[in-house]
Subunit: 378 residues, 2 copies
């Protein structure tokens, strides 16, 4: 099978316009003509009744916070639509069940569990990061208070475990084990990400690209991998297939994170909806910066200047400083290193998928979805 | 089997001195002479290596916060001892495994899981309640910050699920299912408890004693019941035994909570270490108050005066007001209703245990522990 991802990602990242939307993304495989938007929509439709039923079991107050964070209602409980996530994780679970030869229905409990865990992690991460808006609305802690948001996250977490543990048959324990490993990694990644903030740009205790890679795999990749593996495992796929899909999801997480880092520096504000050089304004330790700082050889001089600039710039650097930093990152090779890093992980996803006994149509849809993921905000 | 609990609780609660310590509590059964303190200590010793090994798997920073909340170290990680909990839940798991005829070792994974969940819930509850000290030390959010404390709680939660899901054999799924039900109830109880604060003392939306009972069962009883049931189930006891022990733990939770409410109003500060009329100063909606407010017949007049006093008193009532409130609660029958309520749940514990095929020695130790629980802070 030919791979279209590296080329697409390269084209996107170097032009940094990314005008493509979910609706326009199409698979190159002849087996399917569904766009990523159509695939995501179909999977959301399939999972929504079970997800709504599961969330409906919550304490009414907690249930309202959960529904708000899914974009199903406003503060106060008035039904609303349109502010929810795309449901990438539930789609991965459904597609991997179909790719393993079962109906997508087989993955629904797993899809519900990963969406609940994802929403729990957004809820708690927004508290930890102090983020006040998400998807153009106030975050849950901002709208309902910190204590209630902690509680709502806990409730979603508990519900995710309950949903998986209730799977009939012998698969429940293995499914819960898989989720618990992802949960542990999620927490580990978030811990590292929080600690990165207070670490220096240079010296023995600086964050290196390899550490960043591990953080991204844990924070973003573990749950994507878990979603894919759970879908296949619940469909009766052998452990080797589930394990390969888990690895694929983890690589996808790193590729997505690095692509998002590229957007965070060079993304077109007209497309991303975020200010230019956003991550540099926030002094975030992203992959392109870390790769630039660790440059040897021809990039070393620019790396040294970048280090000085970052160490001496204030907490909220001005436009001239962030522009200069972006230029130095590029000169030190940080941008090309990030592009190569993303391509490497996308190639690794391909290697994980190649040779697996997957159904052609679902496999093609899976690749459409993965291609879409490497280019846009999850 | 004769029951010593109602008598003991009555004696304690009416004199409200509770001078008995864990070390002095002895079982009446001839099969054991171990005190509650000795029983708790033995179970802590048995579980500690596995608990320490499990916590040791955490991210080092998160692991330090976990160790701090277990009382194993100070802020910064310097080893310390003595600030930990008594380990009631792990002891319940161990004793119920022994009561079911197995070695306490069989319950260790369950004991680890319930201690982790208990510690997670303390950590997050302290954030929600804004409590600044626990066991004479700063709470985790106070010592490490709110965001890190949210993360540490999440990590303990994930670890609890992982510990149980890793149990070998067919019991893992059922064990995780049981824990997830308790987790859901825990969150439900905490949600109700938080919402009680903003509800009125009287009228159609006032909190009634029955609502309080359900809150206490969820918030305190569910995890005690889960601990007991997990211990038995992991020891191979039939589901009917585990279910009966679960019910026993839930009744025990309500009895404990109501006994704690009695202490919160009439407890001797020299014994409790907390100010007199503590719960009345904080305007907490505890069982004696709610029972008094719902009094009919002879207590109705005092109930009416109490309602007026509570509705008109400021957020931080003075000593004269809290003294008057305590008197009115007693006159309206709130104190005797609470004593009767605790006795009723302790009798229900007895009924759950009676007739179960439990080993005499462990069963006697279990009753020693339960008798101890009805009198002291968990």
């Amino acid at each position: 099978m030919t791979t279209a991802f590296p080329v697409l990602l390269g084209a996107y990242a170097t032009t940094a316009t990314a005008h493509q939307t979910a609706g326009e993304t199409t698979a190159t495989a002849a087996e399917t003509t569904a766009t990523a938007g159509e695939i995501l929509g179909r999977c959301r439709e399939l999972v929504r009744p079970a997800l709504a039923e599961t969330v409906g079991r919550l304490h009414p107050w907690v249930g309202e916070m959960a529904a708000y964070s899914f974009g199903w209602c406003d503060v106060g409980g008035t039904p609303a639509e349109g502010a929810g996530g795309k449901g990438v994780r539930q789609a991965l679970a459904v597609l991997c069940a179909e790719a393993a030869g079962a109906s997508g229905e087989a993955a629904v409990a797993g899809a519900v569990a990963v969406e609940l865990v994802h929403t729990f992690s957004l809820l708690h991460d927004d508290i930890m990061d102090g983020d006040q808006t998400r998807r153009t609305r106030p975050t849950v802690w901002k709208a309902y208070g910190t204590g209630p948001a902690v509680l709502a996250g806990d409730a979603l977490f508990a519900l995710a475990v309950e949903a998986l543990a209730a799977v009939p048959g012998a698969g429940a324990a293995a499914a819960v084990r898989r989720l618990s490993v992802a949960l542990g990694d999620l927490v580990r990644g978030q811990a590292d990400d929080l600690l990165f903030e207070s670490r220096p740009w240079t010296g023995a205790t600086a964050v290196g690209p390899e550490e960043y890679r591990r953080m991204a795999e844990h924070k973003t990749g573990a749950l994507l991998g878990c979603a894919a593996a759970l879908g296949a495992a619940l469909a009766g796929a052998p452990e080797s297939t589930a394990a390969a899909l888990d690895r694929a999801g983890r690589h996808m997480g790193v590729a997505f994170q690095v692509a998002d880092d590229l957007l965070g520096i060079w993304g077109d504000p007209a497309v991303t909806g975020k200010p230019v050089h956003r991550d540099l304004r926030q002094r975030k330790k992203t992959f392109p910066v870390l790769a630039a700082l660790s440059a040897r050889g021809p990039g070393a001089s620019a790396a040294g200047q970048l280090a000085t600039l970052l160490e001496e710039s204030p907490d909220t650097p001005d436009d001239a400083t962030t522009r200069r930093a972006a230029d130095l990152i590029e000169q030190a090779g940080g941008r090309s290193a990030a592009l190569a890093e993303a391509d490497r992980h996308i190639a690794a996803v391909e290697r994980c998928l190649d040779g697996l006994p997957l159904k052609p149509r679902a496999s093609a849809e899976l690749r459409t979805l993965l291609g879409f993921l490497a280019r846009r905000d999850i």
